[in-house]
């Protein structure tokens, strides 16, 4: 049988890079196979994907040696258009892939480019919209769609070509946990229904493995490090070695001292077993010290009787109350569109409430301008590229003080201090464009720290980062919180983040506050999980299976895992 995809001694170096990104890749993927490619950022996994769909070498230039064959065609000798009939690519950023003014047009885009007659086009669009449950959304603009709907539109837009290979580049990056879980299930259904070859590139292993996968490729440093079944991968030491996070239920077993080699049915939390599993987990949990509850400190921000809705929009808050205490590391969670970002914008003064009062340190915020509030409350956007406005790092960090007319000596001292706290001091004279994504994010934080904020609001502080970078960022925020006494409000979809680092979780629902509790409590309440578009963790399922208290078990495993993080 001809392979669906074949890499034969492939080495690739981008024109803009000094070193190759991929070294001597050999890989054969058979038709109908479902393959997962994992690896940390910079491991070369996305480059591998771009060689399958032909973006390399046809749109991204560089030195290619060896031979990539896809659906019997030599990729280098073929064209993007010819390859696109065999390989459908779903990109990471749904807003960039969605080029139509409405869902229907976007699904039809490839057919439009083939100059297919409109009548046939409408028939096909209706068919694929029905398959992907988008029939009600056909006339909507992308701004009116949820992240999951945009991704399904992208899938419909490539499935309409009826190619035999589907390629997903980090399909979970832009989705909340519940939507991500559904997306993985949908990919699996498509795989089985149409017998397609599916390649998924992702670093969130546990989420992808909620559905069966035939084979996993582990990438690191531009090379294929391992090529094995999910079971063999989980039994092995590879995840730790390349800095990827093992599934939480396995961490629990490891914590309890259970040898990997003795674990059977390892790939699924619902079936995983080991000799005396229940007894050993129970004994382990009994030996764990109960978590120390932090003493509640004085209120920092009090929100009272807040009412707000956008003009012509739904009422988001009605008589809403919330108190953020000094020293809190608070995770704000909830489904998309429920008002998480709006709440942070009400606090920073970007929008004004219809009624109600916000008091910071006892002072009424209504009297303060955006700039005055920013002296106490720092706001960090999700995309650092939307915040950075100077060419050079130290100028960027100094900006807030310069605009507040601080004297040169103060500026210099504070900038140096902020850069040191953020680990950016060695780069102070670099152009910002030379920094990595994680460094840029820290640069935005440094530029706010110079103003000595008491409260930091961070919108998805770890979005799109692999475990190593995620851990570095969160440890850094924790240091700010514990050693510099900065209160944190984290807006997030990431359940690991919430479990591991938050001291308190506030769940927003469409009716306002759903729950205000310690993080582990949130994930042991199925109704809250559903309402906030979160997903149950594997720890919860495992605890239930062996008859342990899910909340206590989750808290203990997370506490243990934090010590093991890279």
């Amino acid at each position: 049988m001809t392979p669906a995809i074949k890499f034969d001694h492939v080495t690739f170096q981008y024109d803009s890079q000094a070193e190759p990104t991929l070294y001597d890749i050999n890989l054969t993927i058979t038709p109908g196979e479902k393959l997962l490619i994992v690896g940390p950022s910079g491991s070369g996994k996305s480059t591998l994907g771009n060689l399958i769909n032909g973006l390399i070498p046809h749109a991204l230039r560089g030195q290619l040696t060896g031979r990539v064959t896809v659906a019997g065609q030599d990729v280098a000798a073929s064209s993007l258009a010819a390859l696109s009939r065999h390989v459908g690519t779903v990109l990471q950023d749904p807003d960039s892939q969605f080029v139509g003014l409405t869902t229907a047009e976007d699904i039809a885009f490839a057919l439009e480019n083939d100059a297919i007659a409109p009548a046939r086009m409408r028939q096909q669009v209706a068919h694929w919209a029905a398959t992907l449950n988008l029939s009600q959304q056909l006339e909507l603009s992308p701004q009116a769609l949820s992240g999951g709907q945009k991704q399904r539109t992208a899938m419909a837009g490539v499935l309409i070509d009826e190619g035999e290979i589907l390629l997903f580049d980090e399909p979970l990056a832009a989705l909340d946990p519940a939507t991500g879980k559904r997306a993985i299930a949908l990919i699996d259904a498509l795989h089985r229904q149409f017998n397609m070859t599916v390649v998924i590139i992702e670093h969130r292993l546990e989420d992808v493995l909620t559905q069966p996968v035939d084979r996993v490729i582990v990438m690191d440093g531009g090379r294929i490090q391992a090529d094995l079944t999910p079971e063999a991968l989980l039994q092995s030491d590879w995840l730790r070695r390349v800095g990827l996070r093992a599934p939480l239920y396995l961490e629990a077993l490891t914590a309890a001292g259970i040898e990997r080699a003795t674990i059977t049915n390892i790939a699924d939390a619902a079936t995983v077993s080991a000799p005396q599993l229940k007894t050993r987990l129970t004994n382990w949990l009994g030996a764990q010290a109960p978590p120390v509850a932090r003493a509640t400190q004085a209120p920092l921000l009090t929100i009272q009787d807040l009412t707000f809705g956008y003009p012509r929009g739904r009422q988001l808050f009605a008589h809403f109350d919330l108190t953020i205490n000094r020293g809190d590391m608070l995770a704000l969670v909830g489904a998309n569109g429920v008002g998480k970002s709006t709440l942070s914008q009400l606090i920073t003064g970007f929008v004004a409430p219809k009624s109600g009062q916000l008091r910071f340190n006892g002072q009424d915020l209504a009297a303060l301008s955006v700039k005055e509030r920013a002296d106490h409350i720092g706001y960090i956007m999700q995309d650092p590229n939307q915040m950075l406005s100077k060419l050079q790092l130290s100028d960027e960090v100094a900006l807030g003080l310069t605009l507040r007319h601080a004297d040169a000596a103060t500026i210099q001292a504070k900038v140096a201090q902020a850069l040191q706290i953020c680990g950016l001091y060695p780069f102070r004279n670099w152009p910002i464009s030379a920094l990595s994504f994680g460094q840029k994010k820290r640069a935005t934080i440094a530029s706010i720290l110079t103003l000595d904020p008491e409260l930091l609001i961070l919108d998805e502080p770890t979005a799109g980062q692999d475990w190593r970078h995620y851990t570095a960022m969160m440890r850094f925020l924790e240091t700010l919180n514990q050693q510099h006494g900065i209160t944190m409000l984290l807006i997030t979809h990431d359940m690991h983040l919430m479990l591991e680092y938050a001291t308190r979780t506030v769940v927003l629902g469409s009716q306002g506050l759903l729950l205000d509790a310690p993080p582990a409590t949130v994930l042991s309440q199925p109704d809250i999980i559903a309402a906030a578009s979160l997903a149950e963790t594997s720890l919860y399922a495992l605890a239930q299976r062996v008859g342990l208290d899910p909340q206590q078990f989750t808290a203990a495993v997370i506490a243990n895992e934090r010590q093991a993080a890279p």
Binding site: R61, N429, W430
Partner: protein, 190 residues
């Protein structure tokens, strides 16, 4: 003939997207981002700085169409009718600056003093001819407006748009060229 690098093709898919996104940016800037000069009713339109920058980056076709569409869309939605003579002038200015894109070769990451001066001479000339001569003359021919009024308006626009292109365009070009340099040349300083 050697194959040109993709960013030097005159009308590839990237150019199409650049026209679309560029038009959207110009539209937003014309609507929201102008700098008051201190003289009543005279604002510096930041979109001309960005237009000059995008024209050097994406070439004459993109420059012409971004200017034309951006200005027309803004007039159309804000005033109900495009003031065609000025719309055309904006397009021609983008197109003229864009003619020199291969020479500037901004993707190379080099935008030194010589290129900065050339860029500003080119933009001074195109803005000067465009606003002080072309637009008002077309206004007289097409709309029969009084000559002294349109020439005064033209000269004011020429000055303010030259300032916009000179300051904003130059800074954007320097910033863009800086972002093209490789990090290999940078050293950590402890």
């Amino acid at each position: 003939m050697a194959k040109r690098p993709p960013h030097h093709d005159p009308f590839n898919v990237r150019t199409v997207v650049a026209i679309g996104i560029g038009t959207a940016i110009i539209f937003i800037l014309k609507r929201w981002v102008s700098i008051p000069t201190g003289f009543p009713n005279t604002n510096i339109d930041t979109s001309y700085g960005v237009l000059g920058f995008l024209s050097v980056l994406y070439g004459p076709i993109a420059g012409f169409l971004i200017g034309l569409f951006g200005h027309a869309l803004n007039d159309f939605t804000q005033y109900g009718t495009p003031w065609w003579t000025w719309v055309l002038t904006t397009g021609l200015i983008g197109g003229s600056i864009g003619l020199f894109w291969r020479w500037f070769d901004i993707e190379s990451g080099r935008f030194g003093l010589k290129k900065i001066i050339s860029f500003n001479l080119i933009q001074l000339l195109t803005n000067g001819i465009g606003w002080a001569l072309l637009a008002p003359t077309l206004d007289i021919l097409v709309y029969s407006e009084p000559a002294n009024k349109v020439y005064v308006q033209g000269v004011i626009s020429a000055i303010s748009n030259t300032v916009s292109t000179g300051v904003i365009g130059t800074i954007l070009l320097i910033a863009y060229a800086a972002s093209r340099t490789q990090s290999g040349s940078l050293k950590r300083e402890e």
